[in-house]
Symmetry: none
Subunit: 203 residues, 4 copies
Amino acid sequence: MPRTPARTPDAGRRSERSRRAILDASLALVGEVGYHRLTIEAIAARAGVGKQTIYRWWPSKAAVLLDAFTARTEDPEYAAGLPDTGDLAADLKLVLRATVDEFDDPAFEAPYRALAVAGALDPDLSRQFTERLNEPGLAAYRDRLRSAREAGQIAPGTDLDVAVELLTGPFFARWLSRSGGLTHAFTDALVDTVLAGLRPRDS
Amino acid sequence: MPRTPARTPDAGRRSERSRRAILDASLALVGEVGYHRLTIEAIAARAGVGKQTIYRWWPSKAAVLLDAFTARTEDPEYAAGLPDTGDLAADLKLVLRATVDEFDDPAFEAPYRALAVAGALDPDLSRQFTERLNEPGLAAYRDRLRSAREAGQIAPGTDLDVAVELLTGPFFARWLSRSGGLTHAFTDALVDTVLAGLRPRDS
Amino acid sequence: MPRTPARTPDAGRRSERSRRAILDASLALVGEVGYHRLTIEAIAARAGVGKQTIYRWWPSKAAVLLDAFTARTEDPEYAAGLPDTGDLAADLKLVLRATVDEFDDPAFEAPYRALAVAGALDPDLSRQFTERLNEPGLAAYRDRLRSAREAGQIAPGTDLDVAVELLTGPFFARWLSRSGGLTHAFTDALVDTVLAGLRPRDS
Amino acid sequence: MPRTPARTPDAGRRSERSRRAILDASLALVGEVGYHRLTIEAIAARAGVGKQTIYRWWPSKAAVLLDAFTARTEDPEYAAGLPDTGDLAADLKLVLRATVDEFDDPAFEAPYRALAVAGALDPDLSRQFTERLNEPGLAAYRDRLRSAREAGQIAPGTDLDVAVELLTGPFFARWLSRSGGLTHAFTDALVDTVLAGLRPRDS
DNA sequence: GATTAACCGAGACGGTACGTCAAGTCTTCCT
DNA sequence: AGGAAGACTTGACGTACCGTCTCGGTTAATC
């Protein structure tokens, strides 16, 4: 006889109306007051929802936020992958410049930062954050680099993981610690230097 | 005209005894319970100190932690700079491997992560965190790279800031998001790829 | 249009269990430690209740105490009025002697003194204290004196309010300022002198 | 050699300047903010004095207030006693009307109420309050009544203590509990009724 | 169509920690 | 040595949210 001590609610009867209201409210609030002043009570009040309805479906405010944020990025052609014009440097610069622009929008930046931070403190959340938000993007980079490697544009022995991290890590670090401006010039320089390091060895 | 809106206590009469006890207690506690379960009340209790004594001298628990952490790194020969054996790759690998080891120690890792996270949410704190903990370390890298540039070991047009971020950014990103192992192999690969990208242009 | 600026909790959902526990705890504690060492926190702890549950329903510890004290005197046949045997002096002496005995009991005296004092400092509370605790008792005296006036036992022009205050005021003053013993002899003397003053004018 | 463990400061070196400033400040403040919002810190700040200087010489804020209040009533011809024109009723009414007027002045009423209340809660203070403020006044009443008794204007067996309390108790009770107006009519009625009760028995 | 079980809004509950205030003590420097 | 100043420990304040728990009221699937 199966015992399910942790009350598992019946997802079939879930109110879609409430779910949307909660996700919307949490995104709006995190932008208004910041992550550490975001409270479950405020989300519930704003969403016109009982607190229990949040606790029933999510384990923490970070999980709510993750769902709220993911909802935006899951539907569209986000899974399109990087462009592949044959010019690796140009393709990478294009995408990184677009990312710079994206991070300029507070509506995107605020919840994303909140999630990055929450993930840094909570390994469980971190895994989910990585899987659902980060990994798809990184995989696109990896695919593009693999294609370039096969075309002989970068060294055949290139570790694609490290290569991707060389492109995104400095960006992430500069963004999170606000230690420098996130500019197109910066990402262009990243691409140039990294690609120079990945160039096939001279004969 | 000097404005003193917030009651500024007289630092001359400050109790060194209490200050040390608070810094010690906060470091110990952040290791035991983690940052978001660290409370001012617990620090005060552990330090045998009134809460007000903490509020009098620090604006937040993050600021306490920053002082506590900084105290450890300020006195010693920490400001020594990087070794300079003439072999740039070897020197960088040595230092990054040492950093990997340092981040393996929870007594170091826990408060450092807490501060990185707190800084990510609070620009004010972020600035302090950068100035007092990060910048000195990065300057050491910059110095070593400048010396290499003068010796003609890397391209004369190299942007030292970007170069340093290429070395440290991926490390920081992997550490904070726990997206991969912090190993000597990883940092070695970083150094090799980045230095390849910085190599002087072939004649 | 009714305005309810201060969050008004829903009395229907109120926990009777908590209410009783709070009233009991406050009476017990005021007897143990005295009024000015009585704290909301201690009441909450003793009652096994969150502080907010007290703040939700009462504006101050004095208000709690007033409810606690009133609860004791509301239910019983306390509203019985004074005896009326036809012998005014005897009836008054009987009741005042009983009151003396009542004030001898610390379980009664301590909270009553606390309330008298709190009322002396807070007009709002004072009004409630008067209405709910004092006035009913005084009305009983007034009724008894009115009956005597109609029977021609005291002067027809007697101001009943003043007459009651002559009987109770000296008692109250002596009690509150501890300036003399509260004895049967004292209250008997009060009754005799006051009634002598109220006797119908000699023809 | 006698040991005085309780540090007894040397009254000879006491600063008269500070003493006056403290007494003045406490009277002013009790009028402005009321007794239970009166703090030692505020007194010290207003008086331009260190807190320790207050704690050195007084055991509590009530004691400070008692001294402050007593200082006003000690110097003048306050010890003059009641007038004795031969007309007892007139003399009593005159004095009680003057007392009514005195209690109309907040500068008098506020600290006096504070002291009465503090005394009600603290038997030690109560004794001092009685001895230094109340008793002298009551003695004056007693003296006047004794003179009247000797003149045969009131019954020879009259208990002077009870008689005085009949005159002052209702006044005190009405004042402290704010249960009625303090008017000349009220005190006149008191005098008339009480004196009627004290009239020598008809032969 | 009635029953019934779940979700839902609402919000009271026992708690924990907050940041503030004042108490009374201690220490330092000044007169 | 007293006094001005103010930092110290202590402890209570009243508030904000936590996560849990009832309480009617829908709402959907089952009888």
